[in-house]
């Protein structure tokens, strides 16, 4: 509180007078609104550098189901720079109509320009439901838009449905995943929800599908682009648990940090990432970013290996929705076996390397895509052929 600071402040840029500060777009005027003209399910497509987030296609898959039930069109909104191809993709993944706003100002995600476009599309084309991924970006944008409209917004849904009154039933976990709550928004349109990545299924990509693409002019005033994204630093050690399709997790049973290298080998072979129990994290064997569970990350991979993890409830709530769980533990009474699809009661130090070997052998024989890398992340790469046994 030195005087220096004061003068500095006075010399520098003037502060805005809070009384003269105007909300960006203005909250929607109150009064009777005819909601009946609102129709269709709109999915906001999230992308970075022209690559869509898987959750966008997953939401189109779920949105298709809802739209069909409502007998309404499935709409998509693609925003960004040089993203026209994503509009085409959105049609392949189920959209009937795509609003495309392509502009250099939309190269990086920034709240103001993106909400400006979003609000324009919603107000002009009046969808009854708006869905976004419950990602960092999705939540940032959805929170802003719902306030501006204004309307109700349900966060982080894991179940979506519509009823005969065209109401969106958005269900989400509450109280550390202990309960589910269904949330409605009866009096406002659109009804908005963000939805968790990895929960819903994308439709198989269908290049023969047709749809309409409507170009939306950006119309972004200069004061909206004052904020600058200086750079994006991609995470090098991709601990992207939330989006991972294969997770190889280890616990106290690993006996020390060294054994995580063994898990990493299996994870690499499967194109997955390494997870951990809190016990392993607390012991300092691995970074907190790897922790799965109540106070870590909630995950929903296709494949989850629980290795030397007892299955304490705080761990289980974070991974029980994995599609296939494999437990390896020397204690046959470990609770983890209660939720495991495959159980191996034995010494992890013998079994894990053997599995890694078996997987590698498959790969060499052509049973896995040879690059291994990326397998765990690409839903889009899913083969269209039926389940085929590997080496025969």
């Amino acid at each position: 509180m030195s005087d220096g600071t004061q003068t500095e402040l006075q010399r520098g840029e003037p502060r805005r007078d809070p009384k003269r500060r105007k909300p960006m777009v203005g909250l929607q005027p109150e009064g009777d609104v005819d909601w009946s003209s609102y129709r269709g399910v709109l999915v906001v497509v999230e992308q970075r550098a022209g690559v869509a987030k898987p959750v966008s296609w997953q939401l189109l898959g779920e949105g298709r189901r809802l739209a069909d039930k409502l007998d309404a069109p499935l709409l998509a909104l693609v925003m960004g720079h040089q993203v026209a191809h994503l509009a085409e993709e959105a049609i392949c993944y189920g959209a009937d109509r795509v609003y495309l706003c392509d502009s250099p100002e939309l190269r990086d995600y920034r709240t103001r320009p993106y909400s400006r476009v979003c609000l324009h599309v919603i107000r002009t084309f009046k969808p009854e439901i708006v869905l976004m991924g419950a990602t960092y970006t999705g939540r940032d944008l959805a929170g802003a838009i719902a306030t501006h409209l204004p309307t109700g917004l349900t966060a982080d849904s894991t179940m979506l449905d519509v009823d005969e009154d065209r109401l969106l039933l958005a269900s989400r976990p509450a109280f550390s995943e202990k309960m589910l709550a269904t949330i409605l928004c009866k009096q406002f349109k659109p009804q908005m929800a963000t939805a968790r990545a990895g929960v819903f299924e994308a439709l198989p990509r269908d290049p023969s599908r047709t749809g309409e693409i409507i170009t939306v002019p950006p119309q972004i005033p200069p004061e909206d682009i004052a904020t600058e994204v200086l750079e994006f630093i991609a995470a090098t050690d991709r601990v992207n648990l939330a989006e991972a399709e294969v997770i190889v997790a280890g616990g106290r049973g690993l006996g020390g940090p060294a054994a995580f290298a063994m898990l990493k080998e299996l994870a690499d072979a499967l194109g997955g990432v390494v997870g951990a129990s809190r016990a392993a994290v607390d012991l300092g064997w691995i970074d907190h970013r790897h922790q799965v569970g109540q106070t870590g990350t909630t995950v929903r991979p296709k494949l989850y290996f629980a290795i030397g993890i007892s299955g304490a409830v705080q761990h289980v709530v974070g991974m029980q929705n994995a599609e296939c769980i494999i437990a390896i533990n020397k204690d046959p009474a470990a609770p983890i076996f209660q939720i495991a699809h495959y159980g191996i009661v034995g010494d992890l130090f013998q079994i894990v390397p053997a599995i890694t070997e078996a997987v590698r052998a498959r790969k060499a024989a052509g049973g896995l895509r040879a690059d291994g890398e990326g397998v765990g992340f690409s839903l889009t790469g899913a083969g269209s052929g039926g389940p085929v046994r590997g080496a025969e």
Binding site: T5, E8, L9, A174, F175, I339, Y342, A382, P387
Partner: protein, 282 residues
């Protein structure tokens, strides 16, 4: 002087909430109330700026009268003033109504103590768990919104600029914005301090300001409380625990166990979903 506002919420320590297996309802009794975990990281960052540049730190919360305890904890850590917005009419608010009242409160705090430069919110609350109030407040006050911040790299008071690191799923974004801004804080931002003894003494005697609906002459009553909340909780239920028939694979010898497991995984639809079985046909 810089004016920093920190939004906090008192929440039940959700880790300690249990479900009554018979009635399927939450057992809240005896669950301690704490300051929402992430909010303390917001407060700590404000206090660090105060330590470095000098600033007034105001903490605001909307909640029941008992939430004054949460404010006192912030005072003990070093906040200058604590405001509790409390009125029956505010009860039952969802994120839209909450952000309205919190924004009105910050407006009033600006009238009392000068225009705000940075508002801090937590990433999300342990009970609401939405992360929507922060963006809502930013919109209503026309502040630049910087969500999921894990580092404040630079604060330039001369140019009124701030550079922060935003955490995203796949990396980190460095962003530069003009003050005033609203920041939502992640746990990685800092390590909240332990209050000093003089801080605890000050907090013990401190009486937070309490503002009710009467303190806001231009409050729009249709926008607060249950009435101002468009979302409705239609029902809650406890999901059925998943029943699985565990297939046990003999562990000995390990090679056979491994082979058997891999065999089964490939025979299941998981392999297809993961794209493992491509390439074979090709």
């Amino acid at each position: 002087m810089l004016h920093l506002v920190v939004c906090i919420k008192q929440v039940p320590d959700s880790r300690e909430i249990r479900i009554d297996p018979k009635t399927n309802t939450l057992i809240r009794q005896g669950v301690p109330a704490i300051v929402n975990y992430y909010d303390l990281h917001g407060l700590e960052e404000a206090l660090r700026i105060k330590d470095r540049h000098g600033a007034r730190v105001t903490v605001v919360t909307m909640g029941p009268p008992s939430a004054d305890k949460a404010l006192k904890q912030c005072i003990a850590m070093g906040a200058d003033e604590g405001v509790l917005v409390s009125d029956r009419a505010f009860a039952g608010a969802d994120t839209l109504a909450t952000s309205y009242v919190v924004a009105m409160t910050i407006r009033k705090a600006e009238e009392e103590w000068g225009p705000v430069d940075i508002v801090f919110c937590g990433k999300q609350t342990l009970d609401g768990d939405t992360g929507q109030v922060g963006p809502g407040v930013a919109c209503r006050l026309d502040l630049e919104q910087l969500t999921y911040v894990e580092k404040v790299e630079h604060l330039d008071l001369e140019r009124r600029e701030i550079i922060v690191h935003r955490h995203l799923e796949d990396g980190v974004e460095r962003v530069r914005a003009k003050l005033p801004v609203l920041i939502t804080a992640l746990a990685e931002l800092n390590e909240p301090r332990r209050a000093s003894l003089p801080g605890v003494l000050r907090a013990a005697r401190y009486k937070p300001m309490v503002w009710t609906t009467n303190d806001f002459p231009d409050l729009d009553r249709s926008k607060i409380g249950l009435r101002g909340s468009p979302t409705i909780v239609a029902k809650t239920w406890v999901p059925e625990p998943r029943k699985v028939n565990t297939e046990y694979i003999p562990a000995d010898p390990p090679e056979a166990a491994a082979e058997a497991l891999v065999e089964r995984l490939f025979a299941s639809d998981i392999a297809e979903k993961l794209g493992w079985v491509q390439g074979v046909r090709a």
